[in-house]
């Protein structure tokens, strides 16, 4: 499979074209800007957490298709989840990107996020796919900003 089949599947292209939850949030409880200094991509993640639950999540920013689609699908995936569940998803997503989680054999909760599995063949793009997730965790940890490096 070539990059366009592997990386740029229809779902990704669709989220790139019409990103979900792509908006600033007026009164977030958590926020974290993330950036990838090597390519100039940046994303702001906004969260509204009540108790243990992520009631709302949105993002803003500029980046490549992978980064945008990943941000968009991340917001869909974690909305309504508990903080602990979101963190668990993050580690599974990260492990998948690093080639440490064989999604075909080990049980996991990634669902359609496995579409990003192909990214691990393109090491320079791993940061693009991971950016929003790192910023999510940065927001939960109340970090001022994160930078994938």
């Amino acid at each position: 499979m070539g990059a366009s089949d592997d990386l740029y599947q229809q779902v990704i292209l669709d989220h790139n074209r019409r990103p979900r939850n792509f908006r600033p949030m007026a009164t977030p409880t958590h926020v974290c800007p993330g950036r990838n200094p090597l390519c100039g991509d940046h994303v702001n993640i906004y969260l509204e957490v009540r108790g243990e639950r992520i009631e709302d999540v949105s993002f803003e920013g500029s980046g490549c298709a992978i980064s945008k689609a990943s941000s968009s699908m991340m917001t869909e995936a974690v909305k309504g989840k508990t903080v602990a569940e979101a963190r668990q998803l993050f580690s599974e997503f990260r492990a998948m990107l690093m080639g440490e989680l064989d999604t075909g054999r080990v049980p996991h909760g990634l669902g359609k996020l496995t579409i990003f599995k192909g990214v691990r063949e393109y090491s320079s793009r791993i940061k693009c796919a991971g950016l929003a997730w790192h910023a999510l965790v940065g927001a939960l940890d109340s970090q001022k900003q994160i930078s994938t490096e």
Partner: protein, 406 residues
Amino acid sequence: MSFDALTLRQRFPVLSRRVRGKEFVYLDNAATTHKPDVVIEALRRFYAEEYATVHRGVYFLSEQATHAYEQVRVKAARFLGAARPEEIVFVRGTTEALNLVAYSWGGTFLKRGDTVLVSAMEHHSNIVPWQLVCERSGARLEVIPMSDRGELMMEEFERQLTSSVKIVAVTQLSNALGTLNPVREICALARRAGAVSVVDGAQGAPHLAVDVREMGCDFYACSGHKMYGPSGIGLLYGRHELLEKMPPWQGGGDMIDSVRFEKTEYAAPPRRFEAGTPAIAPVIGLGATLDFLASFDRVAAEAHERQLLEETEKRLRAVQGLRIIGTARRKAGAVSFVMENAHPHDIAAVADEEGVALRAGHHCAQPVMARFGVPATARASFAIYNTVADVEALVAALHKVNRIFS
């Protein structure tokens, strides 16, 4: 002496390989160039038959190596048009060269109230060292602005060139925009204003015949790896009169006359600036590189690259939604662009699948990106071995980008 890109291309082993199942099309030459067989072989032979340290050995191999090493300095002086070999300092690359000048000249002669002028299109390597020395010395960093075409605004430069300006640091050729700057005029104006001129030749040296005395610069920096030479070696040219007044930067072996704990005396330039065991084999490899560069007609090579760039720009303009960033009247070596529907990263990823190596990003020139209001660009950059076939492969890849993303 003649020039034929297709013949020369055969001399570069990497270029005949396949990548992702496709013929390899290398268009990231502004980042680094590939190496001809003669350079690879010179390194192999040196390590396998002649290796020794330099400057100290009383034995045969070391004497030979020292001679070979110093001969490269002679060749490098000739290559850059320096008045004498002692004006050439071996460094790791352009970045180290610029840091050396900033630390040693800047660190010594810059005072509070002085100004360092850099241009708006500099590579980070010609910005950050000056920021660091300005911070230490209290001098101010000012920026020569550029037009929407990506050309330096010379009238504004002349206005900025007051008596407080001690250093003018500009690139000969922009890696992000392909703009050729009027460095000769800039150096002349700087000198008239009593400022020292520093020319970043990282991109200039691979593409243009350089003559530092004709250019009138005080310092000139370039990288071997960007002009078909080995990793880890570059050149700093400094006018001897200036080098002589400069204190050492790094301390260590080989840069001293005598060391006592109470007092150390430093060697004359260039030795003063070459502390420690140098990158001996890369220097030897650079010698082979300079011979290689002298083996073909560089004026014809320049013309070839110019035609290729023009041809590329013409074809790019015909690609739907593509916009060229940097439209200076005098350009060389590289073309930057963005596309309406695809981020530069995605452009480069699709191109890679077609075997075409492009750069996407800020090209270590974030202020240039900010100036043009783009987060990044895609860039195709050329070398003597590129041909129209490479341009065709590029354009085909860009059409595929449009098919995927729109």
